[in-house]
């Protein structure tokens, strides 16, 4: 009897080991542990045993049942895990397929440049002033020390609507208007971005409409050295800490002294290349100390107040920064162009 039980245990365990499905396993359970199974049958024959042998046999039979049951459980867990595994394996996807696109547009490159400059100067305490694109001759020229018949008016042939009204040729009239609004009192610190217009035929380097950004600081003790310090911060933040700057004397009717600022050429590192016309320097902006006539016309006492102003072209800066070769791209709005300005620098 004892042998028979041991035999049954070994037999059942072997079958369990060989089984490959939950159904097979269940069949084994029913076959060995069921009411009609061989173990039950063996136990039924226990009546023939002596009183001493009976409990020993009973304990052995339970031991065998438990061994089989525990083995069944382990095997079942194994088979279940394998089944899940197989199911998941069948669900495999191609992770290299493209994702569902998320729609997003982006800033036009000019806005990108303008906002960068705006933010930079806001950080230095400037506010943003805007003004009309259709301007009076007075604010566009006369208030800026460009009386009628001034030869420098030639430099910027303009779109007139009437003799006294024109499309502004620069954003400087915003400065003139802001100063006038201040009625000769107190400090001013502004940045003026906006569209301007000149009578130019559109080609790779000219556009009859373009953007400008100007800055103006007026106060009781504003010095040329302040201009130099401000421009240096701007240039390094905008173009990189390793850029060098230089100021060159220049001429603008509304500033005196006037300067132009160059930055060292990034492409050739200052050795000269076609981008910097072999000079190693690239012209970035015009600036100067506000001309006393301009201060006086706006109601400021030029003996007490001084100021500096500067102006630059976002198109030019974008062209240099991103290597754009034709100014017309900015206004054609080819989507293949616009899409290139999404990413962070």
């Amino acid at each position: 009897m004892q042998e028979r039980l041991k035999e049954l245990q070994a037999e059942a365990i072997q079958k369990i080991e060989q089984s490959s499905s939950l159904k097979e396993l269940n069949d084994i359970r029913v076959a060995y542990l069921g009411k009609k199974g061989p173990i039950t049958e063996v136990l039924r024959g226990m009546g023939k045993l002596s009183a001493e042998e009976r409990p020993i046999m009973g304990a052995l039979a339970n031991e065998v049942r438990e061994a089989i049951a525990s083995r069944l459980e382990t095997k079942q867990a194994e088979l279940e895990a394998a089944a899940v595994q197989a199911k998941l394996a069948s669900e495999t996807i191609d992770v290299t397929l493209p994702g569902r696109p998320v729609k997003a547009g982006n800033h036009h490159p000019l806005t990108r440049i303008i906002e960068e400059i705006e933010d930079l100067f806001i950080g230095m305490g400037y506010e943003i002033a805007e003004g009309p694109e259709v301007e009076q001759d007075y604010y566009n020229f006369e208030a800026l020390n460009l009386p009628k018949g001034h030869p420098a008016r030639d430099m910027q042939d303009s779109f007139y609507i009437t003799e006294e009204i024109l499309l502004r040729t620069h954003t400087s009239p915003v400065q003139a208007r802001t100063m006038e609004k201040h009625q000769g009192k107190g400090p001013i610190k502004i940045i003026c971005p906006g569209k301007v217009y000149r009578r130019d035929n559109d080609d790779a380097t000219h556009s009859h409409q373009f953007m400008q950004i100007e800055g103006l600081v007026v106060g009781e003790n504003i010095r040329m050295s302040d201009l130099k310090g401000t421009l240096e911060i701007f240039a390094k933040k905008m173009f990189g800490e390793d850029r060098e700057i230089r100021l060159r004397p220049s001429f603008f009717p509304f500033t005196e002294p006037s300067v132009e600022m160059d930055i060292s050429c990034k492409i050739c590192g200052g050795h000269g290349c076609s981008v910097c016309k072999q000079t190693g320097w690239i012209e970035i902006l015009g600036a100067g100390m506000v001309h006393p006539n301009v201060l006086e016309m706006a109601g400021y006492d030029s003996k007490k107040y001084t100021g500096f102003a500067f102006g630059m072209g976002p198109e030019r800066i974008a062209m240099l920064k991103y290597g754009i070769d034709d100014i017309r791209h900015f206004y054609t709005d080819d989507i293949r162009f616009l899409m290139q300005f999404a990413k962070h620098e």
Binding site: P98, G125, I165, I222, L247, R248, P249, E256, P257
Partner: protein, 803 residues
């Protein structure tokens, strides 16, 4: 202005300063040097040759076979194709082994069977621009004067062993439109002296005054007119060095007399004019304004019709020159001229400017008058030219100058304190440093205490006020030496509310998938009026450059449709773009228009395309509306906005909504009219345009946190049958009004217009959500409100529950 490095050395010692170094110094102290051109362009091995023999090439009609002495060894045979080659000429020969511009190497060659040992050169072949080559040599080889030495360096003889600095002059520095002006500038930069040119006139018995009488009627236009008479001139080529200097400065040589006037123009910056005295037809010069309609044939053989705006030089009756601009053909110096009347005058810049503009004639002369010549150099220049005419044209300069002079020459005297200079520049200069700068500039400067008083020479007409002196100090002291500081004072900067909201709008639209564009404000008359939110008369330019860019836009949409068209034509027919920018609303011709900032967008093609998962969604009205609603939500204005069915010119009559803010129209949205789409050859395109100004002027309610409901909500879905014309907005309004205070949310979740509906009816399904923030609502309470809603729907909109 082109400045020859070699020529400049006649006035300033440039020892130890190369052309490149000089260019750098000039640029840094105020005048931008755009480039330094090396004139010989790498030419090597070109010498003066003597044509000993010339005969027809045996096998080619157009070639000559020449025997040329090169001053070394045996004369060589050279085949030449120039029509003007002749025996006895001194010519420029590129020897075998020579290099011409473009690294063109000369080799021994056989031309049509004949050996050729080198090349006889034209000036163009030596790198000189055709338009400045003397006319007689422009179609063939150049011929040197007989005195040229055989074997000499031809490049040196032609003055091409030189470098030219190209100055880019700002309008205030007209003084540097002359070699002498540049010399003063360079002398100041280098701290060296200026050597002035000489004029030694021999006295003669005859007097100029016996030959001519000068009268000026228009003193304001012409405060100084000086005439000299040079007799017995022999017209011919000017000396080679002089021709070379003209060519190096970009001026074509003509003959000795004309070349000398041009030479003085370059040297002194003073334009001169030479008349053929005998062709004047009178002994008189009268300067006056022209009569309206008066005619003059100028040197370029163009007949000019004059007006009383123009100043003319006349012989007393007939015009013989347009003052300061161009001479007349009737009095031009020709090869037969023997007596020259030389004009040196000061003409008013604005008068000259008007004439040169009206006649489209801008010349070296007019440019200088326009910017103002040095009043003190007018006569000197005339004297010097007369002297050179005596020297190089064999002339005899008659005694005296016939002159009318009402010109008041007063040099500017400006005082400034050292304190002011340092205060404006942020420097700590000493008076001695400032004085030294003015000494170098050759400005008279007197010091009294802290004040320096400067007398500016008349050549520097740009020096007028204190700031001009500050500028002179700054540029010669050097901007590199000025310290770097920042303005004192603490100001905090920020965007205005409008600017901040405008950025929010842009960022929202971009986040929603739209790309920002920049288009032109100027458009055509036809386009300007299309899609305008507000129709006012278009603002037209007085002188447009083209019809396409002649008026200011009243709407952005036509420009965006151009962008759609442009991209569609390039296989990008799914597009979403927007723009913020001004439109221009006229207030009448003489006043400034209202400039109103708008925001507009255009979407076309597929809105969404995820092809491998089979998701494709073309744009439609509701894509556009969703974007707008999102934007209004962002601005906190959704509750104040209405979309109302509307008709807008150029838009689809059934698919367009007017957008109202607090009941006032601020824009529209919808599909572009199919006819317009067809004309533009674009697919279905949806657009909106709003007044950004109106939109951003409106402020959202302040932001306050609202507690999250702690009690469950109850949802009731209803399907309503209504007439086809009934719009969902009307139903929603009823639901919202009647459902208060428990109705939290109501939204459309289905629309059915299919054939299961009765004719003229449709079904709209709403989902209604009821909630109370204080407690759990009972079913009965909800039912009570819900029934009220349903009753109102039936009563006010004839809506019945779908059975």
């Amino acid at each position: 202005m082109f400045v020859s490095y070699k020529w400049l050395q006649e006035y300033v010692d440039l020892t130890g300063v190369t052309a490149d170094e000089l260019a750098e110094k000039i640029t840094k102290s105020g005048i931008e040097v755009e480039g330094v051109e090396i004139l010989n362009k790498g030419i090597k091995g070109v010498v003066v040759g003597h044509v000993l023999e010339r005969e027809q090439h045996p096998n080619a009609d157009k070639l000559s076979k020449c025997l040329v002495d090169l001053g070394e060894g045996e004369p060589v045979q050279i085949i030449c194709g120039a029509p003007n080659v002749a025996k006895g000429q001194k010519v420029a020969v590129a020897k075998v082994g020579a290099v011409l511009p473009g690294n063109f190497k000369i080799k021994k060659a056989k031309l049509r069977g004949e050996e050729s040992n080198g090349m006889i050169c034209s000036l163009q072949e030596l790198g000189i621009e055709g338009k400045i080559v003397p006319k007689e040599y422009s179609e063939g080889i150049f011929v040197f004067p007989q005195e040229a030495e055989v074997g000499a360096d031809a490049i040196a003889l032609l003055g091409r062993d030189d470098q030219v600095l190209e100055l880019s002059l700002t309008p205030n520095r007209a003084d540097c439109l002359s070699m002498l002006g540049v010399a003063y500038e360079v002398a100041a930069i280098l701290g060296r002296d200026v050597l002035l040119p000489e004029s030694n006139l021999e006295p003669t018995a005859e007097k100029a005054a016996d030959y001519v009488k000068v009268t000026v009627e228009a003193h304001e236009d012409n405060p100084l007119y000086a005439a000299k008479i040079i007799k017995n001139v022999k017209i011919g080529p000017s000396p080679l060095w002089l021709q070379a200097r003209l060519m190096n400065a970009g001026i074509r040589p003509h003959n000795n007399v004309v070349d000398i006037t041009n030479y003085i123009l370059l040297e002194y910056g003073q334009p001169l004019h030479a008349f053929d005295y005998d062709r004047l037809g009178s002994k008189e010069i009268l300067v006056r304004r022209a009569h309206d309609g008066e005619k003059l044939v100028t040197l370029d053989d163009m007949e000019r019709t004059l007006t009383s705006d123009h100043l003319v030089i006349t012989n007393g009756t007939e015009p013989v020159a347009l003052a300061g601009v161009m001479g007349g053909a009737n009095s031009e110096v020709t090869s037969d001229t023997t007596t020259v009347l030389l004009e040196a005058a000061y003409f008013n810049g604005q008068t000259v400017r008007k004439a040169s503009k009206d006649h489209g004639l801008r010349s070296e002369a007019s440019a200088r008058f326009e910017k103002g010549v040095d009043p003190n150099r007018v006569q000197l220049a005339g004297e010097r030219a007369a002297y050179l005419m005596a020297k190089f044209a064999g002339g005899e300069v008659l005694e005296g100058t016939v002159m009318v002079n009402t010109l008041k020459v007063e040099p500017a005297v400006v005082s400034i304190t050292l304190e002011k200079i340092n205060r404006v520049l942020g420097t700590g200069l000493e008076m001695s440093q400032v004085k030294d700068i003015f000494d170098r500039l050759q400005f008279e400067a007197a010091i009294e205490g802290d004040t320096i008083t400067v007398t500016a020479p008349t050549r520097r007409g740009d020096i007028k006020i204190e700031e001009d002196l500050i500028e002179e100090v700054a540029r010669l002291y050097g901007y590199d030496n000025i310290p770097k500081t920042l303005p004192v004072g603490t100001a905090s900067g920020k965007l205005s509310a409008y600017q901040k909201k405008r950025r929010d709008v842009r960022n929202f639209l971009e986040g929603a998938g739209l790309y920002q564009t920049f288009t032109y404000s100027l458009t055509s008359e036809e386009k300007a009026a299309q899609f305008a939110l507000e129709t006012r008369e278009a603002i037209r330019l007085a002188m447009p450059m083209s019809e396409d860019r002649s008026v200011l836009r009243l709407s952005i949409i036509p420009q965006l449709l151009e962008v759609v068209k442009y991209n569609s034509a390039r296989q990008n027919d799914s597009l979403a773009v927007y723009e913020t920018g001004n439109v221009f609303l006229s207030n009448g011709k003489e006043v400034l228009p209202d400039e109103e900032e708008h925001v507009a967008a255009a979407i076309t093609g597929l809105w969404h395309n995820h092809s491998w998962q089979g998701e494709k969604k073309p744009v439609d009205f509701f894509v556009l509306k969703g974007i707008l609603e999102g934007m209004f939500e962002k601005l906190g204005l959704n509750d104040r906005i209405e979309f109302v069915q509307a008709q807008v010119e150029g838009m689809h009559p059934g698919r367009t909504a007017e957008i109202r803010l607090n009941g006032t129209k601020i824009g529209f949205a919808g599909q572009v009219h199919p006819n317009v789409q067809k004309d533009l050859d674009i697919k279905d395109t949806y657009v909106f345009e709003l007044s950004l100004k109106a939109l951003l002027a409106e402020n959202a309610e302040p932001l306050f946190y609202e507690p999250i409901p702690r009690f469950p909500s109850i949802t009731r879905d209803i399907a309503l049958v209504v007439n086809k014309e009934t719009v969902s907005g009307t139903l929603k309004e009823i639901i919202v009004t009647e459902g208060a205070p428990f109705l939290k949310e109501a939204h459309v979740f289905d629309l059915y217009e299919g054939d299961k509906m009765e004719e003229g009816k449709k079904s709209i399904a709403f989902s209604l959500k009821y909630v109370d923030t204080e407690r759990t609502l009972t079913d009965e309470e909800v039912t009570k409100v819900h029934e009220k809603v349903l009753a109102a729907l039936e009563e006010k909109a004839g809506a019945v529950l779908r059975g």
